[in-house]
Symmetry: C2
C-alpha cells in the first residue's frame, strides 16, 4: 500500500454527518462511520449500573458476532437512556443502518450522548440514515467528530501509524469530551479505526490495555456515565496483519493515539482553562500511584488552585493523603512545573512568583514523589475548575 | 440541679475568644474552652495519611490520660500542619494552657484549621492564652464558635438536653464548617460539651456512633482533611451519671445535636444557596444505601442541577448507578421534594414547573428508592454547587 503518511486516515473507511432533528439547535447530531468491508471490532463500555440502550445493544452485538462490525452509528442530543422506548430506538437504528449495507443488524455498533430520560422519537435516526449513507466520504471524518460533540468546544481527532512502507498501518480516532472536571456521568465516546488486520481477541485485549492507560487516566473512573463507549475497528485494508508476535509497535501507536485523545478531552473539560498532568512516583505499585494521582486530580481544592495559578502544595499533599494509601509525609515531595515546592512534607525553598507565572500557561504539571525508590508510578490528566463549569452545568437543560 | 432549660449551656464550663495575630485580618482566631473540673473526654479524628500536629498530639494525649481533659485550645488561620515547627507549636500551646490551670499538659486538647504549610510562630498562641484565661466566661460560647470560622458565613452552635428535673443533663456544641461542597480537605471541627458524668469508654463509643450518623453523613468521608477533629467533654457538673443502663436518651440527644450541627455545616457550605437532604431506601444494607446516597450527594452534576433548580432525575439516577452497588434501574424511583419524578427508571408524570418552583427554596429533599422491600436506608446532607465555590477556593490564599 505504499508509505504511511502522517495524518492519513486508515484506508477503507467512509464517513458522513448530518442533522437528524435530535438537537434543539440545528447542528449535525448524527454520525455514520462505515468500513468498506467487514471489520473486526472491539469495545469498552461503562460499568454504571444504569446503562443506555446503545451500550447494552452494542455489547450484545459484539458477543453475538464474536467481534465483527461493518459500521458505527452515533448521535448527540439524546442519551437514549432511561426512556420507555430506548430499546426500540436502538433496534430501529441498527436495522435501518444494516439494511443500507445489506449486513445483519448486529454488525452495526451504536453510541449515544446527551440528556438522559428525554423522549426520543423512534424514526428520527432511521429516517436520516439514507441521506448520510448517500453522502459517505473519506473527507467527513472530522465532521463526524463534530456531530458527536455536546459541551465540547472543539472536535477531537488524532492520527497515528505503526510500521513503515509495506508493513505500515494507519490509525485514526475521534473523541467526544465530557464534563470531565469531575467525570461523573459526563459521557465519553471515542471511535478508533485502523486498516491493520487484527483478530478480534487480540484487538479487544489491545484496546482494553490502551483504554486503561489513557481514557481511564483522565477520569476517576471512565466507566461512570450511562453511555461511555470506546470502539476500535480493524478492517485489514492495509493488507498488513498484526498478530501476537508483532503487536508491540501497534500497541504503542494505539496507546499514543488514545493518550492524545484523552489529553484532548481533559484540555477541553467543561470550563477548563488549562490541562494538568499529574505524575505520582515511589509507591509500592502502579495501582497505588494511580489511586493517589486520581485523588489529587479530583480534588476540587487542587483544581480551583490550578485555576488561580496558586502553587498550593498543602492542598496537593492533603489530597494525596486522603487517597487511603498510607505514606509517611516526611518522605513526600511535591513538584509544580518541575519546581520542588514541598520537600519532605514541608515547604521547599522556591520562588513563588515565578512558579505562579508558569502556572498561568495552559499546561501545568504536578508531581508527587515518595522517597525510597519504590517502583509504583502513574500519570493522569485533569483540568482546572473554573466558574464556567458551574454555569454550563446549572443551565444545561434550559 | 433543677429543671433543664432549653438552650442552656452545660454547667461548669467557661469560654474565651481572642485575636492571637494568626489571621491576616484582625478578627478572633483563638478559642479557649475550659471545664471548671477535670472532665472525661473523647475524640474522633481524621484518617488522612497527612495529619496536623494538633491532631496527633490530641490523639496521643487521650491515649495517655485514658480519656481525661481539662480544656480545649483551638485556632483558625493556620492548620499547624506540614511546617517544620508544628510539633513545637502544639507542645508550647498545650504547656502554656496547662500551666494556667495547673494541670498536666496532656489534659489540654488541641485543634487547628487554616492554611497547610504556612509558617506559624511558636509564641503566637502561648502569648495570647493568659489574656483569654483572664476573660473566661460562660457568655463567650458563641464567640468561640465565631473564632474558629474560616470560610463559614455564620457561627454554628446548637443546644440539647436529655432527661428532666433531677435527672436532666445539658449538651451544647459548636462546629466549624468546611468547604464541604466536596469535603476533600476542608477542615471540619466540632466541640461538644455536656455536664453529664460519663465514663471515658462509654463516652468514646457514644461519640463515635453519633459522628458516624451525622458528620460522616455530610461528607464522603469526614476523615479526609489533615485536621478534622470532633471532641466531646463530659464534666459531670450536673451530678447525673449516664451508664450503659440509661445511655439511650443521652445518645439520642447527642445524635440530634450532632445531626443539627452537620446540617448547619452543609447549609453553610462554601457558596451554597441551599441544603439538600438525600434519602436512599431499599438496598440490602444501610452501608449500601449510604454509598449510593454519597454518590448522589457528591455528584457535581447533581449539585449544579440543584443550584439551577432543575429536577434532573436522569443525573440522580446516573449518579446512583456509578456508586458500585448493582441495582436494576427498572426498580428505581426518584423523588424531589416528595414528588416522584422518576418511576421504574423512567420519567414519571409530574408537573415540572411546580417541582422547579419548590426547588427554589433553601431546602431540597431528594429520595432514591429501590422497590422490593429491602431494609437498607441512609440519609445524608449536602448543598448545591454555585459559582461562589470557585471564587472562594481559587482565591483562598491571595
Amino acid at each position: 500500500m505504499g508509505e504511511v503518511r502522517s495524518g492519513e486516515l486508515p484506508h477503507g473507511y467512509r464517513f458522513a454527518a448530518g442533522y437528524a432533528g435530535i438537537r434543539k439547535v440545528r447542528a449535525d447530531d448524527l454520525a455514520l462511520m462505515v468500513s468498506d468491508t467487514r471489520a473486526h471490532a472491539a469495545g469498552v463500555f461503562t460499568r454504571n449500573a444504569v446503562r443506555a440502550a446503545p451500550v447494552d445493544s452494542s455489547a450484545r452485538f459484539l458477543r453475538e458476532t464474536g467481534g465483527v462490525a461493518r459500521m458505527l452509528v452515533a448521535n448527540a442530543g439524546n442519551a437514549n437512556c432511561a426512556t420507555p422506548n430506548m430499546w426500540a430506538v436502538a433496534e430501529a437504528t441498527a436495522r435501518r443502518a444494516a439494511s443500507l449495507a445489506g449486513v445483519p443488524h448486529n454488525h452495526v455498533l451504536l453510541a449515544s450522548t446527551g440528556v438522559i430520560g428525554e423522549p426520543f422519537g423512534e424514526s428520527a435516526i432511521p429516517d436520516a440514515l439514507p441521506g448520510l449513507w448517500a453522502g459517505l466520504d473519506r473527507s467527513q471524518f472530522e465532521n463526524c467528530a463534530r456531530a458527536i460533540m455536546t459541551t465540547d468546544t472543539v472536535p477531537k481527532v488524532r492520527y497515528g501509524s505503526a510500521g513503515t512502507g509495506s508493513t505500515g498501518v494507519r490509525l485514526a480516532g475521534m473523541a467526544k469530551g465530557a464534563g470531565m472536571i469531575m467525570p461523573d456521568m459526563a459521557t465519553m465516546l471515542s471511535f478508533l479505526f485502523t486498516d491493520a488486520a487484527i483478530e478480534p481477541g487480540l484487538l479487544q485485549s489491545m484496546l482494553s490495555a490502551a483504554v486503561d492507560r489513557s481514557f481511564n487516566c483522565v477520569t476517576v473512573d471512565s466507566d461512570t456515565s450511562t453511555n461511555d463507549t470506546v470502539f476500535l475497528l480493524a478492517n485489514g485494508a492495509s493488507g498488513v496483519r498484526i498478530g501476537r508476535g508483532n503487536a508491540g509497535e501497534f500497541q504503542a501507536a494505539l496507546d499514543r493515539l488514545t493518550r492524545e485523545l484523552a489529553m484532548d478531552i481533559a484540555r477541553d473539560g467543561e470550563g477548563a482553562s488549562k490541562l494538568a498532568e499529574i505524575t505520582v512516583e515511589g509507591t509500592a505499585t502502579n495501582r497505588e500511584a494511580k489511586t493517589i494521582a486520581m485523588a489529587i486530580a479530583n480534588s476540587p481544592l487542587v483544581k480551583t488552585a490550578l485555576a488561580g495559578a496558586d502553587p498550593n502544595w498543602g492542598r496537593i499533599l492533603g489530597a494525596a493523603g486522603k487517597a487511603g494509601i498510607p505514606f509517611n509525609p516526611e518522605r513526600a515531595d511535591v513538584f509544580v512545573n518541575g519546581v520542588r515546592v514541598c520537600a519532605g512534607g514541608l515547604r521547599a525553598k522556591f520562588d513563588e512568583p515565578s512558579v505562579q507565572r508558569t502556572m498561568e500557561k495552559d499546561e501545568v504539571s504536578i508531581g508527587f514523589r515518595l522517597d525510597g525508590g519504590r517502583p509504583g508510578r502513574a500519570v493522569v490528566w485533569t483540568c482546572d475548575f473554573t466558574q464556567s463549569y458551574i454555569s454550563i452545568n446549572a443551565d444545561y437543560r434550559t
